[in-house]
């Protein structure tokens, strides 16, 4: 059951998006979110939806996985949708009233703004997951972060230590999950029951799992520290990297491409202002 959790969800495929420098990906993920918020007219929303679809196509990530990742958000999406439809307050008199019943007033603009909101949420999730989590290995991501934050090291912030912690944490996620599974089986074999009783009882049943898990994690940490020392680790100073990150021409092209989305949205908003709400 615990094995189903896939953290990081990296897909080791070979696509143009996979090849982009992780630092550029971090930057462009933010730029992409900004660009999405620039959309105002219906055409602009259509445009950002198109870019999200293009991202999926170019990353070669199976569409099924993307839809699965959107699934947990359905609840949030429905709630925000309803709120947008029912609580829409017209800004001026030109708003078209569709339904007027008791205190409920539904405007055409309310429905449109709900649709816009949904498009925006979907695009942000698709955009960031395709640009970052699905196409970048965790190590590449922490490496990218380390190098981007390197200037902060000059004011004595522990940048290297931070990225080493992230690397080790990600390395041990599957190990700890496996261990939790084992301890749970062991406790079940001793007759403990995790799936019945009141909520309080169930939470209490987790204590015999957590304690051995903590103890063994500390032991692991101790052993890992010794092993790292034996492998000549002595902090970030004087350390080199096997793969040096280097910006290539395509990385800049990618940046320009994503950045130009903002410009396109502004142009569309100005010249094709359909259904701006």
């Amino acid at each position: 059951m615990l094995r189903d959790i896939t953290l990081g969800q990296y897909f080791p495929l070979d696509s143009p998006i996979h090849k982009i420098d992780p630092r550029m990906k971090l930057i462009t993920a933010i730029v992409y979110i900004v660009a999405v918020f620039f959309a105002k007219s219906a055409v602009a929303y259509g445009f950002i939806l198109l870019t999200a679809i293009l991202l999926i196509v170019f990353s070669k990530i199976p569409i099924k996985t993307i839809l699965k990742s959107l699934k947990p958000l359905i609840f949030i999406v429905i709630i925000t949708g309803i709120i947008n439809v029912f609580w829409y307050q017209p800004k001026n008199d030109s708003a078209t009233l569709l339904v007027s019943f008791w205190v409920i007033r539904i405007y055409l603009e309310g429905i449109i703004s709900a649709i816009y909101m949904l498009t925006r949420i979907a695009c942000i999730i698709i955009g960031t997951s395709v640009i970052l989590t699905y196409t970048t290995s965790p190590i590449a991501l922490t490496d990218g972060l380390e190098q981007m934050l390197a200037p902060l090291g000059k004011i004595h912030l522990p940048v290297h230590e931070f990225s080493m912690m992230m690397t080790i944490a990600m390395r041990f996620i599957p190990t700890i999950i496996e261990e939790t599974d084992k301890i749970m089986s062991a406790q079940k074999a001793r007759g403990s029951d995790f799936s019945s009783g009141s909520l309080f009882k169930r939470i209490k049943a987790l204590i015999p799992i957590l304690i051995p898990l903590f103890v063994s994690s500390f032991r692991r940490a101790d052993e890992l520290a010794i092993a790292m020392e034996c492998r000549c680790y002595r902090g970030g100073e004087g350390r080199t990297k096997m793969t040096k990150l280097k910006f290539r021409f395509t990385d800049f092209l990618w940046f320009v491409l994503v950045g130009s989305m903002i410009a396109v949205n502004i142009l569309i908003n100005t010249y094709l202002p359909f259904f701006v709400v």
């Binding site: 080791p12 290995s137 965790p138 190590i139 690397t167 080790i168 990600m170 390395r171 599957p174 190990t175 496996e178 692991r220 052993e223 890992l224 010794i226 092993a227 790292m228 020392e229 034996c230 492998r231 000549c232 680790y233 002595r234 004087g238 350390r239 080199t240 990297k241 096997m242 793969t243 040096k244």
Partner: protein, 287 residues
């Protein structure tokens, strides 16, 4: 004459915690020559892992002296001197999971050379070479959680090879593995011994110990015996005193002899035991 890489004299060690002192090693005097394949054999709690940790500078001796590569290790040793020695002594631990730092195999192997501050191309070369030696090249982009125990342990060995130490200590590196994993790791160790690395193999498996040039038997923190496998496994009184068993092959040969079969009981590994048995059979058929 080969150089002495590790030399201890009257080495004592005790674990000290707040309220109790637990002495572990007593009067250990040894020297280990460059290029040799030494096995440190002993039962659980005999102090063999503690000794390995003294060799790899994790534990500092309580009294007595230890010299690593001619450098005396005492209180005054600087961090830099310790670092220079660590470059020359690699250690592979028991649990493969607890010695891997990075998720991806090749990135983990690169951890050691990265710490040394080597040029990226040279790191790349060393990583590829190390993965080639342990036979894990095709798994270089795999994540460690997809590997079996034996494969993980071979990656850990590659991580040490990439630092290119002169001495590699295996601290019960096969203890947590299944028989297949154990034999994979043992093959790798034998390969490294052939390549001229000094190997210190710590184990309680007799069948692994027979491959060494020299066996040091530890019992209750003292050196109980020191000699070639042939000498060690002929000294039945010492083995009984220290609570060690004979290798399986030798046990079988002894059992055959007990049954009144005329047989040479000197075979320690399966191959020579098989040879001895076939010789005995030939002799019999002639009669």
């Amino acid at each position: 004459m080969a150089n002495t890489v590790i030399k201890t004299e009257n080495l004592n060690f005790q674990y000290e915690s707040d309220d109790k002192i637990k002495p572990v090693l007593f009067d250990v005097s040894l020297d280990i020559k460059e290029g040799s394949f030494v096995c440190i054999l002993g039962r659980n709690g005999s102090g063999k892992s503690t000794l390995a940790k003294v060799f790899s500078l994790v534990n500092k001796p309580t009294s007595g002296t230890i010299e690593l590569f001619g450098q005396k290790i005492d209180e005054n040793i600087t961090e830099d001197q310790a670092y220079e020695i660590r470059k020359k002594i690699g250690m592979v631990f028991q649990n493969p999971d607890n010695q891997m730092v990075a998720t991806i195999v090749e990135e983990d192997v690169a951890f050691g050379p990265e710490n040394l501050g080597i040029e990226p191309q040279e790191i790349r070369r060393r990583v590829d070479e190390a993965l080639g030696i342990v036979g894990m090249k095709e798994f270089s982009r795999h994540s460690s959680s997809q590997l079996s125990g034996g494969q993980k342990q071979r990656v850990a060995i590659a991580g040490i090879i990439a630092i290119s130490p002169d001495v590699i200590i295996f601290d019960e590196s096969t203890a947590m593995l299944d028989p297949i994993g154990r034999s994979e790791v043992m093959q790798t160790i034998l390969k490294l011994a052939k390549m001229g690395k000094t190997i210190i193999l710590i184990t309680h498996h007799m069948d692994e110990a027979v491959h060494a040039d020299r066996i040091i038997v530890l019992s209750k923190g003292r050196v109980a015996s020191d000699g070639t496998p042939q000498e060690i496994f002929s000294d039945e009184k010492m083995l009984e005193d220290t609570g060690l068993a004979l290798p399986q092959s030798k046990t079988i040969l002894n059992m055959l002899k007990e049954k009144g079969i005329e047989i040479n009981t000197d075979g320690l590994d399966p191959l020579s035991a098989a040879q001895n048995i076939s010789d005995a059979l030939k002799k019999r058929s002639r009669i």
